[in-house]
């Protein structure tokens, strides 16, 4: 498979074209926004948290297939998880993408290692300048979660 085919996997294009949970939440929620100044990609996130569990999420934004698909897949994974689990997934994702360094993130023994569709984003690693695109939703998520803790 060429590196472009690896980058633009079907599942990524699918999330890009049919993003899950697009929109905004009504009622009480946490809101955070992220932006990639160098390319202009924007991502915004609403989270509903009930007793430490992420019970709903909604996303908005515009940008390339990688940032938008990453955001859509992210909501699939984090809804239903506790805050701590969501942080664990974030760490796992960043390890997988080589953004942070550490032990093999996809080791099935690892808790929180279940990234699901997100594993398709591994193709991005061959495109260093695009890694920040994949990462945008996750930095936004971290900002949102930090706001709860604070």
């Amino acid at each position: 498979m060429s590196s472009l085919d690896e980058l633009y996997r079907q599942v990524i294009l699918d999330h890009y074209r049919n993003p899950r949970r697009r929109g905004s939440l009504s009622g009480p929620h946490i809101h955070a926004e992220g932006m990639n100044p160098s390319c202009g990609d924007e991502f915004s996130l609403d989270l509903r948290i009930d007793e430490g569990v992420i019970t709903d999420a909604a996303i908005q934004g515009q940008g390339c297939s990688i940032s938008q698909a990453s955001g859509s897949m992210m909501t699939d994974v984090i809804v239903g998880k506790t805050i701590d689990e969501a942080r664990e997934v974030t760490a796992t994702f960043k390890l997988m993408m080589g953004i942070d360094e550490g032990e093999d993130p996809l080791d099935p023994e690892r808790p929180g290692a279940v990234l699901g569709d997100l594993e398709a984003l591994q193709g991005v690693k061959k495109f260093p300048v695009r890694i920040k695109c994949a990462d945008l939703p996750w930095t936004t998520l971290t900002e949102a979660l930090d706001r709860i803790d604070a």
Binding site: S2, S3, L4, D5, L7, Y8, Q10, L13, R17, C39, G40, D41, E42, Q62, G63, C64, S65, I66, Q68, F127, R130, C133
Partner: protein, 410 residues
């Protein structure tokens, strides 16, 4: 077709491969590649006559000064200035525009005065005026683009009154390739006594530019967009305007005397060149201007019209491809912005890069224009004298691959 392909041998970078393909460089609106003639001029300066200018009376310093002032004369005559003293070297178009905004604007504008811009301006011709507005309370007023991507002059007469003190317009858009209607604006502005400033960052590199004929008050451009080094650019101004303008940087070389509390300025253009200037870069720009003059700017423009025409034709063959810009290739510049189906501009750029084709994606430092066009980003191919129809063919191939990667028929 004006064939300039023999010039490619002068550009060492074309020996490079990008992702396994020979480089197709279609990002000249961001910065151009450099011929050996320019690279070697800079190199030779450092190797044989490097010294500070306008200082001391040793041989090296005299040689460096002659070379630096010689470059000023070359660049001035390239735009047909009446005298080298009308040409002030700066770091680039951005710095030049800031100098005008602060050095002229801050000292001559006051609350209620208006500066007329167009929605196609580069940030370099928007943000300095916003900064001056904060200090002075002036108002910014924008001309818009019509659906042919031309500056809409229909409301101009209503707009122009004695409140308008400056009309600042791009000579050529770095996004749509639109030519700014400089002559029309100069005439209109004169009728209310307003100054005209031309952002010629995309004009001077790509077509003959004659400041006496254009008859604007200021005109700015960057060396790195016309085969020259980075770190150098110019501001041309009418002598009266330069006299009226205050220096915006203080330091050595721009003074005739410095006391503890007061100083007096050196004559124009030195008044605007505080400190050690970009010496090697100015001399390199002189070499770039020699190179362009040897080809002839009419030839450069004709070649660009032809390649742009070919590109517009080939791009029109691609389904769902939309070009943002005038359709007549002889009445526009060689910056071609486009979208392709639902493929984001950054994805287009990444895919083309894998084909060795370097284009730019994003807002191109023209966010107001992006909002006007109602797109967050475009992909842009921009051409220069070293580009060939083969380059366009490679672009088209890459775009067809993008379609197929995104599951669209080709």
């Amino acid at each position: 077709m004006t064939d300039l392909s023999h010039l490619r041998a002068d550009f060492p970078i074309f020996d490079r491969e990008i992702n396994g393909h020979p480089l197709v460089y279609l990002d000249s609106a961001a910065t151009t590649q450099k011929p050996v003639q320019v690279i070697d001029t800079v190199d030779t300066f450092y190797r044989t006559m490097n010294a500070n200018v306008h200082r001391g009376d040793h041989t090296l310093s005299a040689e460096a000064t002659d070379a630096y002032e010689g470059a000023r004369a070359k660049v001035a005559s390239f735009i047909n200035a009446s005298s080298p003293n009308e040409l002030v070297f700066s770091r680039g178009a951005t710095t030049s525009l800031n100098h005008i905004a602060y050095g002229w604007g801050l000292n001559h504008l006051s609350e209620g005065d208006r500066v007329v811009l167009t929605v196609m301006e580069h940030h370099a011709n928007v943000v300095p005026w916003q900064l001056v507005a904060r200090h002075t309370g002036i108002e910014l007023v924008y001309l818009t683009l019509d659906d042919q991507y031309e500056v809409d002059l229909s409301g101009l007469d209503d707009l122009l009154d004695e409140r308008v003190k400056i009309v600042a317009v791009s000579g050529m858009s770095n996004v749509t390739g639109t030519l700014g209607p400089v002559r029309a604006l100069v005439e209109a502005a004169r009728s209310v006594g307003a100054l005209v400033i031309v952002d010629a960052a995309q004009l001077v590199p790509h077509s003959p530019a004659d400041v006496q004929e254009l008859d604007a008050d200021f005109l700015v451009f960057s060396g790195h967009k016309m085969l020259g080094p980075t770190g150098i650019g110019a501001m041309w101004g009418k002598p009266e305007r330069l006299e009226e303008m205050e220096p915006t940087e203080g330091g050595g070389e721009m003074i005739s005397d410095v006391g503890l509390y007061e100083s007096r300025w050196a004559p124009v253009p030195h008044k605007f060149e505080a400190g050690t200037p970009p010496i090697a870069q100015a001399i390199g720009l002189g070499a770039a201007v020699d190179y362009l003059s040897a080809i002839g700017m009419e030839t450069v423009r004709d070649h660009e019209h032809e390649i742009t025409g070919y590109a517009l034709k080939r791009l029109a063959e691609i389904p769902d491809l939309n070009v943002y810009g005038p359709s007549d290739p002889t009445n526009r510049g060689g910056a071609v912005s486009f979208s392709l189906a639902d493929i984001h501009a950054h994805d287009i750029a990444t895919i083309l890069d894998q084909h060795g084709v370097e284009v730019r994606a994003g807002h191109h430092c023209a966010k107001p224009l992006m909002r006007h066009l109602q797109v967050p980003a475009t992909a842009r191919a921009s051409f220069y004298l070293y580009n060939t129809t083969d380059d366009v063919d490679r672009l088209v191939e890459g775009l067809l691959d993008a379609r197929s990667l995104f599951g669209l028929g080709t």
